[in-house]
């Protein structure tokens, strides 16, 4: 039976949904930590520059491929780059799906901490490190991973309009309201201005440090959802009269606006409630890891909020509610990407959903049980995203950059035309950034993360583990290329 084609009902429904992809836990926990570790204001300048050199061009590309081809990653890349490169689309889709396996676990953590904040356990806990360790070393994360996957499945089951669009129409504005309430409370704390000043003060020496620029580029690559293939998937459901350039810019700027708001909130809170020690903690203490900042350091700070246990409970609850909303809106896009891939191959949508969610739950269990496994997957597929960005750029070059710009980007529905600058950025600057990032992260693995065993494929943060896992996945998809093309592009009755 032919699937009923669904489209986002309005521009705003689609933009909120795409912002839902981009805004995730990384905006809240990773951004502030990286800003602190890279000299505060010195980081913000390259971070803004790379928004225009990495995020916006790739988001435009994804919007255009999805809307132009109406296929997910495999069909989209095959149509743009040629059928023999369909495996690249499969790799892009696999990277996002592999991230979904452990991102569902992360969403589960947020739900668990939200429940603890609601019940008041969080603000009455004496030892937050012990609380976190006892949780992550138990079987509980599997239960919350299941809840996260089930919630995601429920949204996708309801379809594009009643599920994805409606959920994002509620959750994204709610998230913004929550962040605004938190920001208002944070900036009105005594001593908050010190934090805001640190956040915006650049240091010329740090600004000239290439590592700060690479950290800013990495943050854009991981945080905005550009190059993940997720926006490409949602763009398949864009109406024909939908614009690309303005929508892509709104997505990227909306995402970074949320990061900026979260940064102001966290820096104000840290400097006001933990003067002197707070920033050291953010740079090298428990807050120096993503999970440490959100699940150990910030809950400690909530306990110091003036106003008593009710106020502390209220703010910790809305913080984890916001974090959960951010995580769920991103998780559903990852589930939709995988479902769309199988639907494109001819599988009925509900069957595809059950298959993806069962698989997602099972493959997420190792990350729920072992932080080492979780960290390895985050390392391998986090760097894998940069290859995904490179493959999207390659597909456009193969298609003909100027032809792609004129037909797919500036085609029907475009409100503003993208100029020739786009050809240079997507054909030259994006591939250059991909190469620089991969070399940089591999050099860090060799010189800093794992100097002895960087080649060992069984070490957590090694070059070997990336090469092995990427290599296996690419080899399988190259072998299956013809079958994937046949099933995606040449099904019976479908062009």
């Amino acid at each position: 039976m032919a699937e009923k084609k669904e489209f986002f009902t309005s521009r705003w429904g689609m933009i909120l949904s795409v912002i839902g992809i981009a805004v995730g836990t990384g905006n809240i926990w990773r951004f502030s930590r990286i800003v602190a570790q890279n000299g505060g204001g010195s980081f913000l300048i390259p971070w803004v520059i790379f928004l225009f050199l990495w995020s916006i061009p790739l988001i435009i590309a994804e919007f255009a491929i999805g809307k132009y081809t109406r296929y997910g990653n495999i069909g989209g890349i095959a149509k743009i780059a040629g059928e023999k490169f369909a495996w690249m689309g499969a790799f892009i889709g696999f990277v996002a799906t592999a991230i979904m396996f452990y991102y569902s676990v992360v969403t589960g953590w947020c739900i668990k901490y939200l429940s603890q904040a609601i019940t008041g356990t969080l603000v009455t806990t004496q030892d937050h490190i012990a609380l976190w360790n006892s949780f992550t070393h138990s079987y509980e994360p599997i239960f919350f991973h299941f809840i996260a996957m089930a919630l995601g499945a429920l949204v996708i089951y309801r379809g594009v309009v009643s599920g994805i669009e409606r959920t994002n129409r509620i959750l994204i504005p709610s998230l913004l309201v929550i962040l605004l309430i938190l920001a208002l409370r944070a900036v009105t704390l005594e001593g908050a201005w010190e934090g805001i000043t640190y956040f915006f003060t650049p240091d010329l020496g740090t600004l000239l440090d290439y590592k700060v620029w690479l950290a800013a580029l990495t943050q854009n690559a991981w945080d905005t959802g550009a190059g993940w293939g997720l926006i490409l998937t949602y763009a398949c459901y864009a109406r024909q009269k939908e614009d690309i350039a303005l929508n892509a810019s709104l997505t990227a700027l909306g995402n970074n606006s949320v990061s900026l708001l979260a940064g102001i909130t966290i820096f104000s809170t840290v400097f006001a409630l933990s003067p002197g020690e707070g920033i050291k903690e953010l740079i090298s203490g428990q807050g120096s890891t993503n999970t440490g900042l959100a699940f150990i350091f910030l809950p400690q700070l909530f306990e110091k909020l003036p106003g008593g246990i009710f106020v502390q409970g209220f703010f910790s609850t809305i913080f984890f509610l916001g974090l959960t909303f951010a995580a769920i809106t991103s998780l559903i896009s990852m589930i939709e990407l995988a479902v769309k891939t199988f639907v494109d191959m001819g599988l009925e949508r509900r069957r595809a959903l059950v298959f993806v969610c069962v698989l997602g739950f099972l493959f997420g269990i190792p990350s729920a049980l072992s932080m080492t496994f979780f960290e390895n997957q985050d390392w391998v597929w986090g760097i894998g995203l940069m290859i995904s960005g490179g493959f999207i750029s390659f597909a456009i070059i193969k298609h003909g950059t100027d032809k792609f710009r004129q037909v797919a980007v500036n085609g029907e529905g475009s409100d503003v035309k993208v100029g020739k600058w786009y050809n240079v950025v997507i054909s030259w600057l994006v591939p250059l950034q991909v190469m620089v990032l991969i070399v940089w992260w591999f050099s860090l693995a060799i010189t800093s993360f794992d100097t002895e065993g960087w080649w060992n494929p069984f070490n957590t943060y090694s070059v070997g583990t990336c090469v092995l896992q990427w290599g296996v996945v690419m080899a399988v998809f190259i072998l299956l290329n013809k079958q994937m093309v046949r099933r995606t592009l040449y099904q019976k009755g479908v062009k």
Partner: protein, 43 residues
């Protein structure tokens, strides 16, 4: 407040929040223009 702090604040907030608002207003204007054009039936 130091000048460099103020300049970074203007640059960052201006580019990110200012840019977002500018594009949002532009999109709103274009959307109003499009409202009068009926959607082409999709295949």
């Amino acid at each position: 407040m130091e000048l460099r702090t103020l300049l970074t604040m203007i640059f960052t907030v201006g580019m990110v929040w200012g840019g977002f608002l500018y594009i949002l207003l532009k999109a709103l204007k274009k959307e109003r223009e499009k409202e009068s054009i009926p959607e082409r039936p999709s295949s």
